[in-house]
Amino acid sequence: MRNLAVIGMALLAALGTAVVLAIAIALPATAEVAAERAKALEHMVIQDCGSCHGLTLKGGLGKPLTATALDGAAPEALSQIILDGVPGTAMPPWRPLLTEEEAGWIAHYLLKDKK
């Protein structure tokens, strides 16, 4: 039974990856981000986004950003929020610090709920 569960989870994970890959392919905005930059972006999400959204992204002054919390959100919409902020809230526009590709990378990263 344990083996079955493991296989099931692996399948699910593969499926999840496939779905995300499909979205990525369909979205020219999420162009390649160099590996080193991706590492810096991950650090930024955890530490700087984490200041408001929590290091585990479960929320704080800002809303939770876990994959569960973002369930169904379009990556384009997330990118837009990252780049332009949400007027009337504490979410600032990150466009001065991020390219559109980088914002797209973060959107996908969040939707995959990387730890």
Binding site: S51, T56, G59, L97
Partner: protein, 386 residues
């Protein structure tokens, strides 16, 4: 604190050796402190005199916005974690004395002036909970639907706080047999933090959602909010704020308040009596903490990402920047020795605590730490408002 190891071994020994302890006084905590290691959920115990880490306590949960307050005997550190955890850490045995998860998401707390009560302000669910400082048993619950911010202790077993969503301020009074909660008033849109002046006279509330600062005179029989600095705060045209300023360090110096501008790279100097703006100081970035160097005319300022590798020192007499330091990457916090001789600065991304002599402004020591954020010395035990 060189005797700490000896002391710990004595504590583990049978009771019969108690007289030996009397002959070898040890385990003083007056020059100790803790450093929040935000990513690993641990607390680094540090010795101020030795410029050294002396231990680490782990298992404190999500510390992405952690703050710490101390028991009056400076033995216990109460750590308020992002995940709603409230942990009582014994600085002597370097162990967790008690730990509860009291909410889903919290932001900070304070200890009552008699050291008996710990209040925690929560985001999710909103509201404030008050605990017995000894046992962490719940003694008061003030539920709310709004995120709470700016919780301070007020003399007389009281606590005050404000609410981010509904823009109100409240006071809970524990001096009588029953808890008494009073609304202090409507203070403005989206207060982001609040602070009590060192004389416990004025509760100052910074607003994010509209212009202005709100002051409440707590010495008044009927405290009421008064708005000042009507052009202070953020508007759509302002610069993005990549980290909320903190007001706990709002410096009170030379008869002035020094406030971080919100959405501007400036400090604002306000006359403490008239509440009029007297000057502005252009700074390196969006100020986060402005902290007065004790027993001096200077305030030290750090900044929001991405300009957070820099610390500036400003003279409160002429409002000029007198020094600009670059201690390390992602400077998150500064804590002064109680008499101001040195300042400890956390560099999150260099994974270090940097210790500066405040007279020469030269670095005199470093301590490795894991993603350090807040630094808290035990002397805070004796400061009103924390």
């Amino acid at each position: 604190m060189k005797t700490l190891a000896l002391c710990l071994s004595l504590m583990a020994a049978p009771l019969l050796t108690a007289p030996a302890m009397a002959q070898t006084p040890c385990c003083a905590t007056g020059d100790l402190g803790v450093v929040v290691e935000r990513a690993t959920g641990s607390l680094l115990l540090v010795d101020r005199s030795d410029h050294a880490a002396i231990g680490r306590v782990e298992g404190l949960g999500d510390l992405s916005h952690a703050s710490v307050t101390f028991s009056p005997d400076e033995r216990f550190a109460y750590v308020f974690g992002r995940d709603g955890g409230l942990t009582k850490v014994d600085m002597l045995t370097q162990t967790i004395a008690a730990r509860i998860i009291q909410a889903g998401n919290s932001i900070g707390g304070a200890i009552s002036d008699d050291g008996k009560l710990i209040a925690v302000s929560n985001y999710e669910p909103g509201g404030v909970k008050v605990f017995d400082a000894d046992t962490l048993a719940l003694v008061g619950d003030i539920p709310g639907t709004s995120k709470t911010i700016g919780l301070v202790d007020v003399p007389g077993r009281r606590f005050a706080w404000s609410t981010w969503d509904s823009g109100e301020a409240f006071m809970a009074d524990f001096s009588g047999a029953d808890m008494k909660v009073t609304k202090l008033g409507d203070v403005g849109k989206n207060p982001f933090d609040a602070v009590l002046t060192d004389d416990a006279h004025t509760y100052l509330i910074g607003l994010f959602g509209e212009k202005g600062v709100t002051a409440i005179d707590l010495w008044d029989d009927v405290p009421a909010p008064v708005r000042f600095l009507q052009d202070y705060g953020k508007t759509e045209d302002d610069l993005p704020v990549y980290k909320m300023p903190h007001l706990q360090g709002w410096a009170f110096t030379e008869g002035q308040f020094v406030l971080p501008a919100v959405g501007q790279h400036e400090l604002l100097w306000v006359n403490r009596e008239t509440l009029e703006e007297v000057d502005r100081t252009p700074t390196h970035g969006q100020p986060v903490f402005i902290i007065a160097q004790p027993a001096s005319p200077f305030v030290w300022v750090n900044f929001a990402t991405p300009l957070n590798d820099t610390v500036q020192i400003v003279d409160s007499r002429n409002h000029q920047v007198v020094a600009t330091l670059t201690p390390g990457k992602a400077v998150l916090h500064m804590e002064f020795a109680p008499r101001g001789a040195e300042v400890w600065i956390s560099s999150r991304d260099d994974e270090k605590i940097l210790i500066y002599d405040t007279h020469t402004r030269e670095k005199i020591a470093e301590i490795p730490a894991q993603s350090p954020s807040g630094i808290f010395f035990t002397a805070r035990a004796h400061r009103t408002g924390l």
